[in-house]
């Protein structure tokens, strides 16, 4: 396998709020190879967006990266100054946000916004900039792109606005793109179109993708590997198909078992009891313990991540362990 383009080790990003310390990201490690797509899944509040923001150096007060390392093409990002980070953002690593409306400026035409994004890192004349913008808009599936450069965001549908945001993220052919639930707000039909294009673009351009989602089906059809987050930690990671077929962490196993497709029509679904924990009042030990049917006294301590080949999990009593011992 080629050297990773992005290498994250034990990342911890905490928010120091008046109510207490929110440990939004508290143990995230992974490698990403060029052109690879990793799905980052987890429920709302599990720390997916803060992980993405941390990678781009976009975490604001009262939050800060308190520990860990982020290496992009060998350069440590966590110790860079704001100026140095800004020089890389958009050029080497970029992000597509959940809400395309928030990304685009309603007062500027699509062409003007793309020109601004180009100018941030490159000197290109208007004509060359327009040509680049047109090429990328065409690539993400916007018909008659040259003419649409003069349109304002409100003249586009949600799906088209999200495509523009993707085109902007692709402008400088960054090594890594973090896509934060970019299709969640869209219709399934549009979602499929965008997923398809993103997968082809990653393959064509060698850009690595981190695809954040709460939908296992979406990432299963897109990503070659998965990381499952719970309460700020990656609790399980590995190649998509093996992880989904043979989950080791009780949370991953529980989520998969609860999908409607896993039960006969009308039958009760397997359910994970309890609710997602508040990160403000996390008890010590394994954060999944209050909801876990495999929990023992041992789980009062925090499990470290165990790596076995290309799989990793954070659990004292992983699912499927008995089978493994007898095998």
């Amino acid at each position: 396998m080629s050297a990773p383009v992005l290498s994250v080790r034990d990342l911890r990003t905490h928010f120091f709020t008046r109510a207490g310390v929110v440990k939004a990201v508290d143990g995230v490690s992974f490698d990403l190879a060029p052109g690879e797509i990793m799905g980052l899944v987890g429920e709302s509040g599990s720390g997916k967006t803060v992980t993405g923001f941390s990678l781009l150096g976009l975490v604001d007060e009262p939050g800060r990266i308190v520990e860990g390392s982020i290496k992009l093409n060998g350069t440590e990002l966590t110790t860079l100054s704001d100026v140095e980070l800004r020089a890389r953002r958009g050029r080497d690593i970029s992000m597509i946000f959940q809400d395309p409306i928030a990304t685009l400026n309603p007062m500027l035409t699509i062409g003007q916004q793309m020109k601004l994004a180009i100018d941030a890192h490159e000197r290109l004349g208007k004509r060359a900039a327009d040509a680049r913008a047109t090429e990328l808009l065409t690539q993400v599936g916007i018909p008659s792109a040259a003419a649409r450069l003069r349109a304002y965001p409100h003249e586009f549908s949600g799906g088209m606005r999200q495509r523009v945001a993707i085109a902007i993220a692709l402008l400088h052919r960054p090594a890594v793109i973090v896509a934060d639930e970019p299709t969640t707000a869209l219709d399934v039909s549009i979602q499929a179109q965008i997923l398809y294009q993103m997968r082809d673009l990653a393959a064509e351009t060698g850009t690595a993708l981190i695809w954040i989602s709460h939908d296992l089906a979406v990432v299963s059809s897109l990503a070659s590997k998965l990381a499952v987050m719970y309460a700020g930690r990656i609790v399980e990671q590995g190649p998509t198909a093996t992880l989904l077929r043979d989950p080791r962490h009780p949370y991953t196993a529980g989520l998969l078992a609860s999908l409607p497709a896993m039960a006969p029509p009308g039958a009760p679904l397997a359910q994970i009891p309890g609710t997602t924990p508040s990160l403000l009042s996390l008890p010590p030990g394994c954060p999944f313990a209050p909801r876990c049917d495999r929990a023992t006294a041992e789980c009062a301590a925090e499990p470290e991540i165990t790596f076995r080949g290309d799989r990793g999990w954070r659990c004292f009593h992983p699912v499927g362990q008995a089978e493994e011992v007898t095998a």
Binding site: E43, S44, S157, G159, M160, D187, V188, S189, I190, Q191, A192, Q193, L195, Y196, H214, D215, L216, A217, V218, S220, S221, L222, S224, P239, T240, A241, T242, L244, R245, Y251, G254, L255, S258, L259, P260, A261, A263, P265, G266, P268, L269, A270, Q271, I272, P273, T275, T276, R291
Partner: protein, 339 residues
Amino acid sequence: MSAFLSIDNVSRLFGPNLTTGEKIAAKLGAKVETRSVRAVSDVSLTVARGETLGLVGESGCGKSTLGRLIAGILPPTAGTVMIDGAPVMENGAKVTTRVQTVFQDPFASLDPRMKVGDTVSEGPIAHGLTNKVKTKAYVAEWFERVGLDPVWVDRYPHQFSGGQRQRIAIARALAMQPDVLICDEPVASLDVSIQAQIINLFLELTRDLGLTTIFISHDLSVVQHVSDRVAVMYLGRIVELGPVAEVFGKPAHPYTDALFGSVPKLVLDADELVHFDTIEGEVPSPLSPPSGCYYHPRCPLATQACSDQQPLMQPVTERREVACHHFEEQIAKGLDKAV
């Protein structure tokens, strides 16, 4: 099959809601949107007692509007909705408590300043389903039924999680002792691990109480799981209707086929090259729908007849209906694929 809930030629138009200034500007020829949206167009269906009908389709196709028309929240511009032979609305006002609704966002639909126990008892007291003396026990009973601890009645909505708030919303609807329940995206705003809890609660309660249900969701796997029959909507019209296994398994309408094909499925085989069947283009503006069959600009089977003439709902089998000029071709196509 006897019709317990019957929806007869129901339509709903939304005018452009112009201000006086805009109306004058429009008269003077300014570019002001004066067209109306036909959010729901000539919908007719019947639902048997105890049956769950799923309602699916892309955003803006009219699912919520149809749900609100059936619930008597919104008056139709034409047509009638009847429950057990009695109209839901008369002269633009709801005249029954037999239909109740559960919405997507339990936070928005609960009054933040009202104790949740009062939220549940308000309607039943107003309609004499319980009285001041019995209220406490009545509310406690419904709390227990939806899996909430009755000691929480004096708390406020913000003190609950999303899943618990949805349970409160369900208790509020059911405490009115409805026969018909409209669920509009009841699990869409919930975390994945909580969705299964609420779906299970829904399955248990609809069965135990014999409720007749309209279940709206963009998540086809949820609809497939809970529904007996499913109706597929496109731009305000129902284009296909039938038992959920048949419609999902062998779509008779090209749009149904494309909609199901574009849903990402859980892939467990790494070597399987995932193939997305994407629908061409986007949903046209409801302000200026295409001629004939609304789906013709995106339909791979479209012919001249499709842009000339609107296809009406017609039977495919005893319990199935479809609105498509070439549905036989679509079914044959599906059979080809299966071979």
